[in-house]
Symmetry: C2
Subunit: 728 residues, 2 copies
Amino acid sequence: MASNAFDSVLASLQSLSISTKDLVVKHAPTTSPDSWKQAISDVASSFSIPQGYMFTKTLVFKPKAAKSAPPTPVVLIASNDTETNTAALAKHLGQKEMRLAAPDLLQEFLGATKDDVSPLSINSANAAPLIVALDSAIASSSESFAVHASSADQTLFMTGTDIAKYLESTGAKVNFLNFEELKNAAPAAPAAAKPASAPPASKAKAAEASKIPEAELIGITVRKEGDFPEWYSQVLRKGDMLDYYDVSGCYILKPWSYTVWQSIQNFFDAEIKKMGVENCYFPMFVSSDVLEREKDHIEGFAPEVAWVTKAGKSDLERPVAIRPTSETVMYPYYAKWIQSHRDLPLKLNQWNSVVRWEFKHPQPFLRTREFLWQEGHTAHLTLEEADIEVKQILDLYRRVYTDLLAVPVVPGVKSEKEKFAGGFYTTTVEGFVPTTGRGIQGGTSHCLGQNFSKMFNIVVEDPNAPPEKRGTPEGKLHVWQNSWGLSTRTIGVMVMVHGDDKGLVMPPRVSQVQVVIVPCGLSVKTKAEEREKILDACADTAKQLQKAGIRSKADLRENYSPGFKFNDWELRGVPIRLEIGPKDLEKQSVLAVRRDTGAKSALPMEDLSATISKLLDTIHDEMFKKADDEYRSRRKVCTKWEDFTRILNDKCHVVIPWCEVEACEDAVKERSARTGNEGEAEDERAPSMGAKSLCIPFDQEQFGDITGLKCPQCGKDAKRWTMFGRSY
Amino acid sequence: MASNAFDSVLASLQSLSISTKDLVVKHAPTTSPDSWKQAISDVASSFSIPQGYMFTKTLVFKPKAAKSAPPTPVVLIASNDTETNTAALAKHLGQKEMRLAAPDLLQEFLGATKDDVSPLSINSANAAPLIVALDSAIASSSESFAVHASSADQTLFMTGTDIAKYLESTGAKVNFLNFEELKNAAPAAPAAAKPASAPPASKAKAAEASKIPEAELIGITVRKEGDFPEWYSQVLRKGDMLDYYDVSGCYILKPWSYTVWQSIQNFFDAEIKKMGVENCYFPMFVSSDVLEREKDHIEGFAPEVAWVTKAGKSDLERPVAIRPTSETVMYPYYAKWIQSHRDLPLKLNQWNSVVRWEFKHPQPFLRTREFLWQEGHTAHLTLEEADIEVKQILDLYRRVYTDLLAVPVVPGVKSEKEKFAGGFYTTTVEGFVPTTGRGIQGGTSHCLGQNFSKMFNIVVEDPNAPPEKRGTPEGKLHVWQNSWGLSTRTIGVMVMVHGDDKGLVMPPRVSQVQVVIVPCGLSVKTKAEEREKILDACADTAKQLQKAGIRSKADLRENYSPGFKFNDWELRGVPIRLEIGPKDLEKQSVLAVRRDTGAKSALPMEDLSATISKLLDTIHDEMFKKADDEYRSRRKVCTKWEDFTRILNDKCHVVIPWCEVEACEDAVKERSARTGNEGEAEDERAPSMGAKSLCIPFDQEQFGDITGLKCPQCGKDAKRWTMFGRSY
């Protein structure tokens, strides 16, 4: 590979936030696995080589094809120790007579020789015709693997998951294969032996024979408690919520997750309309003048603003920013539209996406460069009116979490330090991820006070001014403003709270499919007639439930076993699975299996809709209760500083009687971070993070009488119970 | 003004697409209106000065203010001949003792002297504290006005509307004032004379006294048939559909228009879900590699693609594009997700915004740099299946126009020349704007064939391949794809078709308010008790209608006369106005006034919801019929070339028996353009535009038997009746 081509590979790794340990190890040219090992060990003292790394092998095959058809090279990438059975691979890929590719083909398609070919030889420019077969032992591993960089005398170390991520980013068709399984898999019935119009019985046989061999590969390969970041990533991808995208920090929301967002939209949109809020749409572009008008505010956003500087091949005369939020986009127009107190209140909302080009490690739903949200912006005559709305909105946010997502949150107010830049005060609903013990801001409703209205000159004649002030500047009033937003982050919190080792666990009210019905107990011996009956019963049950407004689906796919289907829907977290087999039909009942608890029960077919409807509510309530109990048990009152970091390190939130002094908040963070370092192992991504104040809960009484208590950190008089914790 | 500051003013004019005739006229310095006139006339021979231009005057005042308050200078901009009454202006603006500003204040706030101060002294950096009073005779005029450029020895000519547009773009608070009216307006009751707790009778008096003096100014000032572009712009702004924005080509969709879009969304989203389409969200960013993969396709979009090259202050390593449409964004993932024919059909849709940085003259809703739309992208096993869906979607688009917007469209297929770049064939619903006689593409549903699937390698094993081909390249099948989109352009078409000289005429099914109820017949003599009764009756009627699902509003604003309210709601096009006065109450009836026809009828209060519900349907039907009759009468069959351009110049569409040869289409365009030039005056913006083929209507029979007919342009055998016309 030419070195400038390799520069572009490096750039693309970087844009995917794939760490390459900033290191290309140079060594003697290698021509075999053994010479490679030797070459690296020769230079190991001069470079920092990762512990316990493994070697990869990259083999390129040319399957047999008609002369007129363009070749579709197969690139096999596996751990060097993995036994790779070419014949089984060919069969699995539906290819014939795969032979190792000749040097000219290697050069033509990958610009490489057999010695320097590597996963990094594939890039977005050459990926289209390739079929890539990647060892799933690599794809799911966070261990380091050696791959050749631009030539056989250079090596780069990458984690297995990063190799997979990179390959996917190129647009190549990547097949994840467990070669171990593949080798042992029963050979599929030869294609020629399957007549197109086979009768049902032989169809079943064919179905059995062509059962997807990687069925066992599609499950989650790590435990939630074991490797949470990897678990989260797998649950999202294998649960069909999202896919990774070739622009770093951006993700594709697939229907399974977008439906959750639409459920939230439907609920929230209807509620705010009742409050007199109207929807609108402001452009995504902001001129720099306007963006930068409110200094405190923009300071918080400036480093993350994306700038459009070109259109086609022309440079724009004045670059325009993409909104990171719309305060400064909208308020110049508020100044124009609000000419009189009769124009108040002005209550606008928009459903849009915003861009914050963060350079921190991106995380699907939680921290992404573009995200979907709603942002409400309102203007009021009085602070009192603004106050009321701030709380009404916050309560709607609470309801999104508790009533739709079955996720507990703590509503409260942010400390001065943590409030919205440029605002007056910020209210929040704070969530909690038990696995990491970290808090997560769930949605915020801000009172902006008069800060923005002063900056943007949003002013009316005060109808309540004393007569002698009317028409004078003292008779003018700067409006009181609020802004509030809730984003697709909600979905990430929901997944983290409810998911388990088998995949997603969807709260019933937002699940695209609430009930899946799987035909069971069919075998090769089942008579065609009986098979039809079962399938019909499944389809009828789905229809009946749909009529009652229950989102149901009969999974009548022919080539998959019930076990495969169970796994598939468990991965996606469908709340209830109904199984219908010959015996159920006989007894006129169905077997219901709950996704959240695994509990099974036989339900009579009669009046099934009502039963299921109740069961869905029960599931919602119990999922909420379980999560709420967990959260409560992890919210610990602490009145002595000695206990603070211990509680924190137990993955809990710490509620202290707090003085509300900003310097004290800084001290808490610093002291809890320091001690954290010395403590036991914590979440990998936040090992030594200090505790921030998360919120001052509205419900103060639950923590008891604060009178006379002192702040455990600084000893000053405590004002209110305040929740501290590590957070996302 | 420093000359570099003036460069930025020029840049900002340009970014607003304001023509400054590319010309700054240099002349002797001027110090008075007379010396200015003289100076320009002295140099008139060296510059091309517009005909019949007028001079502006710009006066800056400092109103009295408390010492602690920052000054809020008032900038008066009027035609030089307009008499401007400072006292009346001060009163109108709620200011006191306005005095001409001292030189230092002028310098501080506008960086100008009294001689060179001009509308262009105001810019986005200094606009915030200013109050601008702009002569409405300027704001609504398409005549040219002389304004000083960067100094008193330079003059620029701008149209009045451009001056207004520029001022608004700066973010200044602009008041549009008819000084003639203002001078004559009854002086408002002194503020001090209005006790806060005045009894109702004196309230009414105060209301009468403070009646908004510019009530007469808020109406549309030009006729639809007279100056269509200006009419369109005024109708949108004064009807509260949108506001202009300070990034050129972008507009703010206010709730009044966004509601229309949400109505369309609700209908269409429900319908496509019935078809099995699922919603998703793909990132707005595309990497250049992926964007450019399909060459034919990207050629159509490349010059309009906006590029993000910076984040914060850092240059991105690889610029990313903002999607102009999502084919190339989505299809690499389709290739990954579609691994088997069992994954088909894949039917995804997204509601998003796309960016096409057009450099042509922007027009709200019709041609904007960012617009909202939905884009559906589906993949099928067979062409037949794809074909069916293309038509189903097109029929939904038709229903959006006919059933929601009461706008007639002609469904058909595009010629080869006009089809979607990179697609197989394109179907369209074609609308018509009678005032200009131009066609407008209303929504398109494309079959992409296998072109993109070949480019992106979206391939499955063909389940219908003969057994011997299975597992070979010949046994593979590239999927058949469709894409289809409908945008906020719909709203522009709706406004252009239905609006009249009084403003918007909203089709009932998409109007945010369907019925407005205005209390009438109240005067100073009305007793408080009777007043209450009337107001209650209005509020009750609104509630009663709302209960029946009719979007209703009682306009109980106190400081506005019924006449003002009538105008206000007529501007916004509310389909039905109900008037309730003492006599109506006595007779237990209401007076209903239709917006579309102006027809009045007394309706009994009993069972009003049912009556109104029916009336709304009638209005919809009659609005559609009126527009449809008009469109039909302007669709003329033409079999002789001699008639072609005459029909076109009569602002009609021309339906010819067409040969469907691409060269002939080019010839039609060229010949009709040439002749158009010699013909009578046409729409200003498309004076000599040639006719394009708009569509080949599906309903061929309406035009009669085509057998044996020849193409009137080239004489070849005709294939199908085809509609040609000028278009947007």
